[in-house]
Amino acid sequence: MRFAVVQFPASNCDQDAIYAARLLGHEAYFVWHKETSLNGADVVIIPGGFSYGDYLRTGAIARFSPVMQAVSEFAKNGGLVLGICNGFQILCEAGLLPGALIRNRSLQFRCEHVYLKPATANSPFTCKIPEKKLLRIPIAHGEGCYYADPETIQKLKADDCILFQYCDKEGNLTEQANPNGSLLNIAGICNETRNVAGMMPHPERACEPILNSADGVFIFQSIIHTLTESKTAKSTTAKS
């Protein structure tokens, strides 16, 4: 598969996303924010970092980059887009995902491993996560508190769009386990059409045992599985 990783000024997990995708045996390349094409991507990753220094609001400036036009187009046509950390913030600012990410309750940046409870297997980003499996994946953010108005939250639930929730090692959604004050311990969501997702934790940082966790691989495998399916589907319909 071809992973496009969008590169904004001061994206700084861009390289990590490339590394993870290539480690799993796939092709990955940068797309500079001034570009207007995604060069035939199968999936787009909006990486973490501090695009434009997080000035004004996280993600507020990056969403106006030329490349984001292409990303919206890509998403409209059903392409898979995953925003990680700052990428999640950018997708919310761009309106590709509902809600917003605000300052952590603690007012402090938090970097640590957390446990994630996959809230649904029904998404291109979670379908390959073993049932009941909790993921242990790092977070590193100062503005990861997910907020949306009650209607939006209701809709997220109704549409099964919550992908991950912070939990303790038994899988309980406790306040203690919530590192930033997110509503419903939300760590990641997807859009109604389920092809655009955002998450604050960093799966790309958890793809090797030597980095103390390989749980992030399940998320990449889900994406790759979904893409393979749709490709074979396409080719068979093309043949018949």
Binding site: Q7, P9, A10, N12, C13, Q15, D16, I18, Y19, A20, R22, L23, A28, Y29, F30, W32, G48, G49, F50, Y52, G53, D54, Y55, Q108, F109, R110, C111, E112, H113, V114, Y115, R136, P138, A140, G142, D168, K169, Q176, A177, P179, H202, E204, R205, E208, I210, L211, N212
Partner: protein, 786 residues
Amino acid sequence: MTEPKITPELVKQHNLSAEEYEQIKAILGREPTYTELGIFSVMWSEHCSYKNTRPLLKTFPTKSPRILVGAGEENAGIIDIGDGLAIAFKIESHNHPSAVEPFQGAATGVGGIIRDIFTMGARPLCVLDSLRFGDITNPEVRRLFNGVVAGIAHYGNCFGIPTIAGEVYFDESYEGNPLVNVFCLGVLKHNQIARGRACGVGNPVFYVGPATGRDGLAGAAFASQDLTDESAQIQRGAVQVGDPFMEKLVCEACLELLATGAVAGIQDMGAAGLTCSTCETAARASTGIEIELNKVPQRAPNMTPYEIMLSESQERMLIIVHKGREEEVKKIFDKWDLPWSQIGVVTDTGRMVVKYNGEVVANIPAKAIATESPVYHREAREPSYLAAVRAFRLDQIQRKYEPVEQLQSLLAFPSIASKNWVYRQYDYMVRNNSVVCPGSDAAVIRIKTDCLPPEPEDVNIGSATQIPLDKIPEKYIAITSDCNGSYVYLDPYEGSKIAVAEAARNLACSGAKPLGVTDNLNFGNPYNPELFYQLKESVRGIGDACRALNTPITGGNCSLYNQNPSGAIDPTPTIAMVGLIEKPEYITTQWFKDEGDSIILIGSPVNIDDPLQGLGGSAFLKVVHGIKNGSPPPCDLNQAALLIETLLGLIYGGGVKSAHDCSDGGLAVCLAECCISHQIARNTPRLIGAEINLTGETLEKFGLDPQKILPEALLFGETQNRVVITTDKHNTGKILARAAIYNYPAAEIGKVGGSKLLIKTDAGEHCWEVEKLYDIWWNAIARAMR
């Protein structure tokens, strides 16, 4: 605009002595202009010229076959780590700026040291921060601590570099004068080393980065009132504010630019900004340099040449470009939307010539300011307090032995308690290389292909992703910083040896072979003979220890005049040490692993030749008795070297499951940390107990006479050169036998397991719930900060 005329007053305000002023006139063969006076004053300040410390620094061991760029040659030292790869690293202090404005002071400290590293052509890989504050119960201290940590987090996290190790001590002596030492390490290939040299007569000189403002102008800078008609507020130098976003762009652009080969020389504008970078690059290349100040981008209105030359605006670089390749340079800066300007040219005159409105405002032989500053041999006198310290004996105090409470108070003591309140605010994982994160003796970071600066073939971002992931073999680097200031205060020579030995021990515990040191000498006023004695003795101690452990010094930084109204700080020579781990399987962490493993103490539990049995200057005396006194535990350097060799031998031989060195708080604290320091995830420690036998029977295995040993010295004494390791119980015999071959004392002292830490001694059995110890130790600082 008329410059003020030079008066003895003005000279004095510039911290230049009458002799120094005479020397300046001799160099110029005339009176200096006002701008020239400013230039000399910053270049001949202690910070830039090391005029009081150079004779001492000369005594450091600085050679080894691995050293590619040595101390003092360039902005940072560079060490060969094999396979054509090298690491550049350096430490820098930002103590005084942080005292004035903790957040920005610390943030710009991080920015400055990162620039020193990519200036060498290396890609910054990780940061380490070594911090000292007053008593944490003081609200003002908490404000500084909070601000400094937030500032480091702000800059490092936004730049996207992991802050992966450090240390924090709290002690009254740092009240009002915090120490903020920041270290950065970068990676590059041998053929990528860049130089801060203005090579090639006729080559254009570029200025890159944000516009110059009146940032960080030294006190002297606004000594004279008729500089400009700006308001007093604007006239007073503004506090430097860091812009990590800008720095990230400057770094990426510079590395991309270096890959093109269009760069003849490059240097960051740090202290004394434009002044220092221009004259130093010219001096190093034995050329001259001529710049036109009207071409320097300016942020503030009506800046004078004096102000432009002395400004310390952040994130700026000076780049000398091969004539004819200007366009490549402009193209890259425009791609990154960076402000740049061509401000001058390299000449063959050997002089630094500064023009403004067509007038020459400074014309100085570059070498004279950059390298021929005055040198002083200051007087050193043993401080009066040391006699009393040496005479201190334990019978002078009311001895107390309540081990259960005492261990708990030690674990709650902020200097010993977990520093997670600090490092969880840092992104210590970004870039996928953090193998051992903060919380073990030394941090371990991996070097993989994408850690390297771009090479000619992949300057084009797209193609960078075509490079094979394993273009270079992965390497593992361990880093640590250590210095117990109380030790150094109580015995400058011995205490400094201990700092080096502990750093090396921390590295060895992680499986690393020590390679080299960068030191940060934080001391008081060198004009005070007693304080200068501390500095002199400390340097001697560091030198001897580095020779014994064969870890050459690759560079460092001096911060003198660290005083506060109530006197000087504890002398604090921060030692940052870097080591290489040959194979991933050697990587070792400090926490106990599995039930049933046997626990082995390497090194004698107590040094009975020490009349204080390791309690001199100990955390125990400070916490339990509230005193800072007694000679620190002596550190035998041959033993220290042998311990490193033994420990590495055991680790390489296989079977060592954990290794943790004994330092502050002694054996009991060390054992407790082994039980409680493995954090798996948020609120999720992996706790495991241990059963320890320190009764006479065990002590005799070390050839000790149990009668002679004080119980508190056994648990809390800080006898040097000890490490606690664990191994599978079937391996115990093998490990002990191998230790015996190295002829280093070692014996089994217990087993891992259960939910309690149980220590049996002849003075009784002591028991703690590890859960409780964890809570005390992990949350102590967070509680103090509420």
